[in-house]
């Protein structure tokens, strides 16, 4: 177990080195979108609206935090892995080392977790200043960490199964963009018809934004959504292992 953890760190180490060199631009890029959303939706559109007893700003900030954990973690893990596979061609080096596939998957996901936590943490900080009704508590941190991990594993999986940059951008437009707007980030799912709701609960970001929002606003916590999120994480992890085993056939 200890050795597996050391291996995980070895895999993460090289990506951390990379991040250390580029952290300013990485952080800046990942903050542009959420800040735009915050301004456009939080202030522009939602100035006077109330959602379920809280101001729209207080409602939307946790959604944007969840969204940031999604996009920063997913992209952080997926883009570095794709670069390793297709640009540096260094990914085989991991596979030819004595490090197990499990450690490779977790290590490769962790760079996404690190980037997701930095970016969503920054947005959380901004949100906290703008809307004092938000609560930062251990539950929120747990949910945030879990979200980042699940989405980073998602990123690793997609980077392993999609074999071209073209495919990645198709995926990002067909799957990630709709998720960004639909998964309970900007509006409450309770307004939707049952069928639409059922469809959106199939997507992991819905569970993440509901959990983050409940934790941040001190509302009753949707443990079922949290469990669903964990379930997605396990599913993505298994998917990664299967994809890696298939790659060596």
């Amino acid at each position: 177990m200890l050795n597996a953890l050391k291996d995980v760190y070895s895999v993460l180490w090289v990506d951390l080195r990379n991040l250390r060199r580029h952290w300013r631009s990485t952080l800046a890029t990942s903050l542009v979108q959420p800040i735009l959303y915050l301004v456009a939706f939080g202030y522009g559109l939602g100035g006077g609206i109330n959602v379920g007893g809280v101001s729209y700003l207080a409602f939307v900030i946790p959604g944007i935090v969840a969204l940031t954990s999604f996009s920063a973690s997913f992209n952080g893990a997926a883009s570095k892995l794709q670069v390793d596979r297709f640009f540096y061609k260094s990914f085989d080096e991991f596979l030819m080392s004595p490090v197990s596939l499990y450690s490779i998957v977790v290590g490769k996901a962790l760079i996404g977790v690190v980037r997701g936590l930095i970016s969503s943490g920054a947005i959380l900080l901004v949100g906290f200043i703008l809307s004092p009704t938000l609560m930062v508590n251990p539950l929120l941190l747990l949910v945030l960490f879990t979200s980042c991990f699940v989405f980073a594993l998602f990123g690793v999986l997609i980077a392993l199964v999609i074999n071209s940059h073209q495919g990645m951008s198709t995926f990002s437009n067909l799957v990630m963009l709709p998720m960004t707007f639909l998964c309970g980030t900007f509006f409450s799912l309770s307004q939707l018809p049952e069928a639409a709701k059922a469809m959106l609960y199939v997507l992991p970001l819905t569970h993440s934004s509901e959990s983050v929002r409940a934790a941040a606003l001190g509302q009753p916590f949707p443990w079922l959504s949290f469990l669903a999120l964990l379930g997605f994480g396990i599913g993505f992890f298994i998917g990664c292992i299967v994809a890696l085993k298939k790659a060596s056939v």
């Binding site: 070895s10 090289v14 080195r17 990379n18 540096y88 080096e93 596979l95 030819m96 004595p98 060596s248």
Partner: protein, 287 residues
């Protein structure tokens, strides 16, 4: 000399495309073995199976007694691999790349430091240790890739087309490094489609063609089998014909029999390229 790598009836299909067929090969401990063949002959596939990256369709490979499919971890500890394409993280320095490989191979902090500085001296990259990989010349990048594969002191080093894209100086320097590694006890398995590289470096060569091993011996013996002396005749200024003879006397006798208008005639020592062309009816390099 023990057999360090043994393949038995190694076969690999990609879908319905056959990359390697029934390959039986023994690599001796301590030799430099050259795997020759045009692009697509099955060289890289063979290396990928030997280095645990790809599973064989059938047949087996044992390295140092360990099966590559069933005991990959034991195999990984004794092999070092330098891929055809550069596989370094180009956003890191040479030293960082080395440290990364050392970590992946479980070297402790003190050992890492010691090994890295020793090896940097060994491949003459000590001055460039803290330079970003992207700023190095082609030959330096290749040496950096080799040095990364040496950190865990592998017993066999796989070099897939190690000198493609290098200039003449870079190539010779790399050859010297390969020889030095071999003298210091590392078995070398290299693929190349440069015939002169195999002639300059290898104790034995195997020639692959369409997934089959069609010749296997020392370069000297392969030449002798074909005929140590070659006669090239340029016919009508457009087509070159080749004949091979055991010695110069026999070649000279043949030249005497040629008609006076035979065109340019060259008598020279035969080489591995002749062997390959005669065996396969093709020029190496897919021309």
């Amino acid at each position: 000399m023990g057999e360090f790598i043994v393949t038995e009836k190694l076969t690999k299909f990609y879908g319905t495309v056959q990359a390697v067929q029934d390959l039986d090969l023994q690599i001796h401990s301590g030799e430099i073995f050259g795997f020759l063949g045009p692009n697509g002959a099955g060289k890289t596939t063979t290396i990928r199976v030997m280095t645990t990256l790809t599973k064989p369709t059938s047949g087996s490979v044992r390295i140092n007694g360990f099966d590559v499919v069933n005991e990959p971890d034991k195999v990984k500890n004794v092999i070092g691999v330098v891929q055809q394409h550069l596989s370094l993280d180009r956003d890191l320095t040479v030293r960082e790349n080395m440290e990364f490989h050392a970590r992946l191979h479980h070297l402790g902090a003190a050992e890492r430091k010691k090994r890295i500085s020793e090896l940097l001296e060994y491949v003459e990259l000590a001055d460039c240790a803290n330079r970003m990989v992207d700023t190095l010349s082609g030959g330096m990048k290749k040496r950096a890739a080799i040095v990364c594969s040496l950190l865990h002191e592998p017993k066999v080093l796989f070099l897939d087309e190690p000198t493609v894209g290098l200039d003449a100086q870079g190539r010779r320097r790399l050859w010297d490094l390969v020889r030095r590694l071999n003298l210091d006890g590392t078995t070398i398995f290299l693929t190349t489609h440069y015939i002169e590289e195999a002639e300059a470096l290898c104790h034995r060569v195997g020639i692959m063609h369409h997934g089959h091993l069609i010749a296997l011996d020392t370069p000297e013996a392969l030449r002798k089998k074909l005929g140590a002396v070659a006669v090239e005749t340029l016919v009508d200024n457009k087509e070159t014909r080749y004949r091979f003879f055991a010695d110069r006397a026999a070649a000279a006798r043949y030249v005497q029999t040629l008609p006076p208008n035979a065109g340019t005639v060259i008598i020279r020592d035969s080489n591995l390229e002749d062997v390959f062309v005669e065996q396969t009816g093709e020029k190496v390099g897919g021309a």
